[in-house]
């Protein structure tokens, strides 16, 4: 489970979604440096949310020997529904304020995608293990064939 890689990808995704929504009415090229700079606070927000609300599920599951896919299937539906409810509540109570809507939309999309990335790392590891096992088996087979031919 590569948390840093996930945080970097999620922050980039959050940055893009947030600024696309904010700047969808008018975009000035002069604002680009500020957009770049905003990566730092966005990274901090994303890190707090992901490490605080998504990682614990996977850490706890590793101790209990669940696969990442099992954790995803078990917990993600409830997480996404609660996150959606909270984001909708926030957007409505803020009277559809553009900045807050952008924040909630990027937070919802990023956290959901982050779940998928975390769950897929397990799959990658599983695939790598599978490939390694297949390679070893093939090598062994080749060695046996060579020995037999000799």
């Amino acid at each position: 489970m590569n948390v840093i890689e996930n945080l970097a990808k999620s922050s980039l995704m959050a940055l893009v979604i947030f600024w696309v929504i904010i700047r969808c009415k008018s975009f000035e090229v002069e604002a680009l440096p500020y957009v770049m700079l905003s990566f730092i606070p966005i990274f901090i927000c994303v890190a707090i949310v992901i490490v605080g609300s998504i990682c614990p599920f996977f850490w706890a599951a590793t101790n209990n020997k669940f696969t990442h896919k099992e954790v995803f299937t078990m917990c993600f539906p409830y997480y996404s529904c609660i996150a959606f409810g909270l984001c909708c509540y926030g957007i409505i109570t803020s009277n559809f304020d553009l900045h807050f809507t952008a924040f909630c939309t990027s937070a919802f999309s990023t956290t959901n995608q982050s779940w998928v990335w975390f769950a897929k790392t397990d799959k990658k590891m599983h695939n790598n293990k599978l490939n390694n096992t297949t390679k070893t088996t093939n090598n062994l087979k080749e060695a046996i064939t060579k020995t037999q031919s000799m």
Binding site: V20, E30, L32, F76, P77, S80, C81, F84, N112
Partner: protein, 467 residues
Amino acid sequence: MKQLVIIIASILFSILFYNRGIGLNLSLFTVITILLLYIHNSHKFKNKTILLHVLAYVLSAVFVFVNHTALAIITNCAAFFTLVGTVSQSANSIYVQWFNGIYSSVAGLFHRNFEVNETAHKIDWKKNIDVMHWAKLIGIPLVFVTVFILLYKNGNPIFNDFVSQINFSFINLQWVLFTILGYYLFSNISKPVQVDPATSIDLKTNNRLLKGQHFSEEKLKKEKQLGITLLGFLNLLLVFYIVTDIISLSTIETTKASALSNHVHSGINTLIASILIAIGVILYFFRGNLNFYAENRTLKSIAFAWIFLNVLLIGLIAIKNQIYITSFGLTYKRIGVHIYILLTLIGLITTFLKVLKVKNLAYLFRRNTQIAFVVLLVCSTINWDATITKYNLTKAKTFDVGYLINLTNRNAIILNELKDTIEISQRQKDSIETKYLNHITSLSQKDWQEWNYETFANSEKLKKTNH
């Protein structure tokens, strides 16, 4: 082909909802949703349960167009989630279907990353197109070109003027984003997903109560004795309460609003506590093996008698509420009391059936939630604001005009029509007229997406307003 359908649906979504209020668009959205679900899941549309939910969804859309009330809109949303959940798995309880429906609509696309068929498809797709290469090919030059444009802008005034003239204002990015939102929603619901293990557990749970392994006659006998004593005393107490309530009902003064209000509200509180405890006690005693105990007839009879007495109690509260309504008119709270009474009555009937037919708790939850959904659908068939106004001004002995004026604009036309038939002050008549004019003006300013039945019914008046 199926992707094209989703893209067309998302463009229609933007045309219908972008910067528009609710009206005809929600009804048309219903049609689009059903078509999209049918195209992507045509094999499932032979199932009767799904067809029944399609009918409920269509009916709710008709009520949105005809009544245009908040309740009708809420019902339409509930019917949408129910239909999506039913398409994902039709054999589930309705509350699991709601959950599946909400989950599919909110995050179906993310969930489908792990479905076997989809994965196989994705691997092929990724093999054909090198996504990372394309991302680098577009992303890296884009970032560098933008940075260098910013740098060169300050170095050359002609280049600066040229860059300033580039204008993308003809693209409405907000509209595009709204279309993407529509695409996301339709992609989510095109292949509804299931929440596991909730769905599989619910499918495994049937309605029948099974006999437990530890069947001790001695224990059951003691439990039966406790049940008979407890329910017997409670029956006596309830009989005494009902007799005194009937006496107090006959002496009630219908002219005093405060006395009547006190009677109804205290009665409702008693009802809430009594019914909840009644159902709880009955469910406790009939939770397990006592249902299969040969000598449980007396206990069952006493439990049924208690349910019957609670039904009587409900009847008395309904009479009190009706007296209140006849004397002082309809309000949302008084209608709410009637609906609560109806739901409680249904709850008691399902508890009675649970004990009679030896069913489990899942049966009770399933039936009650199904009935609650039907009640919601039925309630959305009525334009409550107009009904309250018409009843209060034509049938009630006294009424509160201020309350009627403060209701939503859905009663503006009928209130204006009846204002000359009642005795009210000139100031109140002016308020009604202002409300009516505001409503007609707002109706005439609506776009076709926001139209409802009222727009068509008053088209002549609207033409005059426009001229």
